[in-house]
Every structure is written in structure tokens, then in C-alpha cells.
């Protein structure tokens, strides 16, 4: 957007890579079992045996951070895959559909958006039965596709009358064939930024839901469920329970944002130069 070329976000990329690598290979350097509770060791300050201290249930925060990060990142990726898939297919349907169907679908999206997200999530959660990382990911994915659908719809409307799409249709190409072979490569540039941002939003959503008690239960360790102990910990002066998982969460979100906005910058620049 500004006149100068944005610098490559090396710092963000390296930090994110470190966090992801740490979470993926957490088994190799975890000092304790993250699920092991020992009330005798509850709310120990960082240092010594417990590098990041312990939480109110006596679990070792250092091990929990890496182990829980795995779940948080996984939820981010899985729900983004789902929301992108729904968004692209629905958006393309809207874009190809005749006017009245398009209007009806867009109205549906509008109404869908106006159901309070909280209510939708509580319902979907209840319908899914037990709460685990996978159901949370599906629930977040199923509620986060509207933005992508809107963009895809506009793009498809622009592309559908172009020669290569018409040619493909004349040769008998089906909807999914055209979508995969002809539209997706063209769409990628305009939705890549949103897909990256969806990962960020999904991770943030998981932590918010778990914090509110609507997401993962305490036994399943994730950054969000770790933070659900934060409110009570704050008043006992256990700052590390609030600050350390939060810092990891925010650092991850910030890195993803930096990379996302760099990608967007590069893509818009390319578009302008053409």
C-alpha cells in the first residue's frame, strides 16, 4: 500500500517456524507429562524444576505450552481447510447460479451471518456430542466461511464469461471440473490472504471459546484451555498463568498476520503491474 516495497517478514517467519517446530517435536524436550496433575505443586513460580511455573492444577506450563500449541495450531489448520472448502464451493455456486438463486443464496448467507455466532457454536457443539479438538475445529470452520464465499462469488462472476470457462463448458466440463482446473488457479491470489487470516482467526476463536467455557474442556490442553484458568489465577498473583500462554498465542497470531499482509502486498502489487 505504501510507496516502498514491504520487507520480507523474516523475523515473523523464523519465529513462527520455531513455534511450529517446537510444538510438532515437543516430545523431544518436554520435561514433564503435560497432563500430570499434582496439587502439591500448584501455582509454583517459574524457575528451577518448572521452567514456566505450574498452573492451579499443578501441571507444568513449559510442557503444556508446546503440547497444547499442537492442538491450537491443528485446530487452526483443520478449521481453515473446512471453511475454505465450504466458502469456495458455495461462492462458486453463487457465482454460476442464475440471478434468483444467487439472490436467495446471498440472503441465506446474510441470515446465517445474523444468527449469533455464540448460539450457532453452542448448537453445533451440542449436536457433535463430546467436545474434542476435532469437533471444535469443525464448528469453527463451519461458521467462518462467509467472507471467502463472498469474494469467490464476485471473482467467479467476473470469470464465468471468460473464453476459457465457456470453452470448457462447451466441451462438457462439469461444475467441479471447471472449479478445480480453471477457476481455482485464478481464485488463489484473491483468497490466499483470507485463507491465511482464517488460520489466525480460527486459533483466536478456539482460545476465546475455550476461555468462555464453550470450547475445549480443561483436560484437553490447548492455549485456550490453559487460559481459561487465567482469570482466577490473576487474583492470586500467578502472573505466569496469564502471561506465558497468552504471549505464545499473541506471538503466533502476530506472525501469521505479518506473513498474511506481506502475501497480500505482493499479490496486489503483481496485479497492478500487469
Amino acid at each position: 500500500m505504501n510507496g516502498r516495497q514491504k520487507k520480507k517478514p523474516w523475523a515473523a517467519a523464523v519465529l513462527l517456524a520455531l513455534i511450529v517446530a517446537g510444538c510438532v517435536c515437543c516430545e523431544f524436550f518436554m520435561t514433564k507429562d503435560p497432563a500430570f496433575m499434582d496439587l502439591a505443586d500448584s501455582e509454583r513460580a517459574p524457575g528451577g524444576e518448572f521452567l514456566f511455573g505450574t498452573d492451579a492444577l499443578g501441571r507444568d506450563l513449559f510442557s503444556m505450552i508446546w503440547y497444547g500449541g499442537r492442538i491450537s495450531l491443528l485446530i487452526g489448520c483443520v478449521s481453515t481447510l473446512l471453511s475454505t472448502a465450504i466458502g469456495v464451493v458455495l461462492g462458486a455456486l453463487c457465482g454460476f447460479a442464475p440471478g434468483w438463486l444467487d439472490l436467495a443464496l446471498m440472503r441465506f448467507v446474510e441470515i446465517f451471518l445474523s444468527v449469533p455466532t455464540l448460539l450457532l457454536i453452542v448448537f453445533l457443539q451440542a449436536a457433535a456430542g463430546e467436545q474434542n479438538a476435532f469437533t471444535i475445529a469443525v464448528v469453527i470452520g463451519a461458521t467462518g466461511w462467509c467472507g471467502i464465499a463472498k469474494v469467490v462469488r464476485t471473482e467467479v462472476q467476473r470469470l464465468r464469461s471468460s473464453e476459457f470457462v465457456i470453452a470448457s463448458r462447451c466441451m462438457g466440463g462439469g461444475f467441479f471440473h471447471i472449479l478445480r482446473r480453471h477457476l481455482l488457479p485464478n481464485l488463489l491470489a484473491s483468497i490466499l490472504f483470507m485463507v491465511i487470516m482464517n488460520i489466525r482467526n480460527a486459533i483466536a476463536a478456539e482460545s476465546t471459546l475455550s476461555f468462555l467455557g464453550l470450547g475445549l474442556p480443561l483436560e484437553i490442553v490447548s492455549w485456550g484451555s490453559m487460559l481459561s484458568l487465567a482469570q482466577s489465577a490473576m487474583f492470586t498473583g500467578a502472573w505466569w498463568i496469564v502471561l506465558i500462554p497468552g504471549a505464545f498465542l499473541v506471538a503466533t497470531l502476530l506472525c501469521i498476520t505479518k506473513i498474511g499482509s506481506y502475501v497480500q502486498d505482493v499479490l496486489t502489487r503483481k496485479e497492478r503491474n500487469v
Binding site: 500500500m1 440472503r107 441470515i111 449469533p116 451440542a126 467462518g144 483466536a204 464453550l214 487460559l227 499473541v250
Partner: protein, 334 residues
């Protein structure tokens, strides 16, 4: 005159239709979700109830009829202004909401106005001295703050200002037992307000900054610059005027996002507003309360998106309905 009448009539009709479909949808979702509404009415006593007692209670609350019948009854009463009682509070739903809606309006409304003004000022300042040291620092800080989830931001504020510095109260809307004077309420409002504003500020400020900078590259700017106007005059007198309609439209669409943020902030600060109610009623299946809250949120969302479109079309004929939207943000509205 007549055409205008038809125009508004059509708008009203489609608005009512949307609300109607929304009410059916929410009704079905709420009733079909597994969970025990009796638990929210009778509390822990529900565990000791026999099967017959349960049957009776279900019948008294009208919960064992077919879904369509239940909805028909609800709609019939609702049209007459009777939305039933809240299972948990044993009070008329409107009374429960009425007692709290003022608090949310105060927090959300004040937050929205502050957000609107501050984002404009900050965005303008950053555009004015684009790429200078202050702009770069603000851009960095702003991006960092904008990714912090609202609940953690609230926790952080509580941690710094009420636990460590002991300057401001950490929860509630007023000190219990003192009735709540003006200054007391204000003191309780500061932290939640900061959380609401900080959570959204940079998104809009950055938007204003970028739109202004983009506008600065237009041809007419080159002309007025050539005539001798300085940067500030161009920005204030020409660019701002062109950016403002888009900004207004986007702010109108963003009402639900700010509202959603307010809900979360309210829960963290145990602020007695609608947010805590939404959360409680959704969790504990307080059907009647949930219906009204969902409809209220829905009305706000649909209404604000219509206003956003109208503003865009009114001030800027190039904008069509599809072009405005906060695509990159998550749908946390309501």
C-alpha cells in the same frame, strides 16, 4: 412520492421476511439442540424429579408439543408483545433484558463513538506523516494490539490496572451496595471501554490511513498540489471528503463486530449487560430469553448492513451492494 413509498415498502418487506426466517431458524436450532431446558427452570431440583413430574413440567411449559405448534404459539404471543418468561429468572423476558440493555448500550455505544472518532484521527495522523518514525511505531504497535484476542486484552488490562496498580475496579458496572453514582459508574466503565476500543481501533485506523494514501495518488491531488496547497490541506480538504463515505459505510457494517466484541469483554469483566445473558441463555437453554436475544442481535446485524449499503449508495454511486464488506474479519457478530 408514490415510487419512494413503494421503494421503502419493499425494503421493509424484505427486512421483515429476513427477521421471520431468522426467528424460525433460531427457534429450530434452539429446540433441536440437545440439552435440558427444565434444568434452567428448576435448577438442581430437576435431578430428583420423577418421570411423571417431568412430563407435567414439560406440559406446563408447553415443551412437549410438536415443533411447529410451539413456534406458532410463540409467534402468536410475540406479535402481541408477549415473549414469555425467562426460565432462569422467572421474570418476563423483556424485563430481564430491559434491566441490562442500558449497560450494554452505554458500553457498546460509547465504545463505538470513541472508536469511530479515534480511528479517524489516528488514521489521518498516520497518513499525514506516512513513513515517518511516529507512523512506523504506530503501525507496528497497532498491528500487535489488533491481533490480541479481546478476552486476553481484557485480562491484561485487569492485571495491570486493577491487580498490580490497584487503580481501577476489575468487575461489575458499579460498586455493590452503593447504588452507583456517576463517578463510580464511570470508573467501572474505563477498563471495559478501553478493551472494546483497543480491540478494534487499529483495523479501522489502518483502513483510513491506507484509503487516504491511495487517494493521495489520484490525479486531482497532483493538480491541487501543483496549485500550491500543502499536504495537510489536500488531505483535509479533498482526500478526507472522498474517503469518508466508504468509512461511514464500513463503520455501519461493523456494528455487529463491535457488539460481539462487547459481549466478550462483558463476560470477562462480569459487566451486567446483554453479553453475559447471551452466553448464559445459550448454555443453559433458556429458550424464551435466547429467542429474543438472538432476534435482537439479528435485527441489529441486518439493520446495520442495510444502513451500510444505503450509506454507500447514497454518497458514492460507484459502490454497489456487493463491494462493501469486511471480508477479512471473522464473523464474531452478536
Amino acid at each position: 412520492m408514490k415510487r419512494r413509498f413503494i421503494f421503502y415498502g419493499k425494503k421493509l418487506l424484505s427486512f421483515t421476511a429476513s427477521i421471520f426466517i431468522l426467528s424460525v431458524l433460531v427457534f429450530c436450532i434452539a429446540r433441536l439442540a440437545p440439552g435440558d431446558p427444565l434444568a434452567s427452570y428448576y435448577g438442581t431440583r430437576v435431578e430428583k424429579m420423577s418421570v411423571e413430574e417431568r412430563e407435567k413440567a414439560m406440559e406446563r411449559l408447553g415443551l412437549n408439543e410438536p415443533l411447529a405448534m410451539q413456534y406458532g404459539k410463540w409467534l402468536g404471543h410475540a406479535v402481541q408483545g408477549d415473549f414469555g418468561i425467562s426460565y432462569k429468572y422467572k421474570q418476563d423476558v423483556m424485563e430481564v433484558i430491559g434491566a441490562r440493555v442500558g449497560n450494554t448500550l452505554l458500553l457498546g455505544g460509547l465504545g463505538f463513538v470513541c472508536l469511530f472518532v479515534l480511528a479517524l484521527l489516528l488514521g489521518f495522523f498516520c497518513a499525514y506523516c506516512a513513513d515517518c518514525f511516529a507512523d512506523r511505531v504506530i503501525c507496528m504497535l497497532g498491528t500487535a494490539v489488533s491481533v490480541i484476542p479481546e478476552f486476553w486484552l481484557s485480562l491484561l488490562l485487569i492485571f495491570i490496572f486493577s491487580v498490580s496498580l490497584r487503580l481501577l475496579p476489575s468487575s461489575g458496572a458499579y460498586t455493590l451496595g452503593e447504588g452507583g453514582g456517576f463517578s463510580d459508574r464511570l470508573l467501572h466503565l474505563i477498563l471495559p471501554l478501553c478493551a472494546v476500543i483497543l480491540g478494534h481501533l487499529w483495523y479501522y485506523a489502518y483502513l483510513v490511513r491506507n484509503r487516504l494514501l491511495e487517494e493521495m495518488r489520484a490525479d486531482y491531488v497532483l493538480l491541487v498540489r501543483a496549485k500550491g496547497l500543502d499536504r495537510r490541506a489536500v488531505l483535509l480538504g479533498h482526500c478526507l471528503k472522498n474517503v469518508l463515505p466508504t468509512y461511514l459505510g464500513i463503520m455501519a457494517i461493523s456494528v455487529p463486530h463491535v457488539l460481539g466484541g462487547t459481549y466478550i469483554v462483558e463476560t470477562v469483566f462480569s459487566y451486567p449487560g446483554i453479553g453475559t445473558l447471551v452466553y448464559e441463555s445459550a448454555r443453559y437453554k433458556d429458550y424464551n430469553l435466547l429467542m429474543v436475544l438472538a432476534l435482537l442481535s439479528g435485527i441489529v446485524v441486518i439493520f446495520s448492513s442495510r444502513i451500510g449499503q444505503a450509506v454507500g449508495e447514497r454518497f458514492d454511486p460507484r459502490v454497489t451492494a456487493a463491494g462493501t464488506g469486511r471480508e477479512s474479519m471473522q464473523g464474531w457478530g452478536g
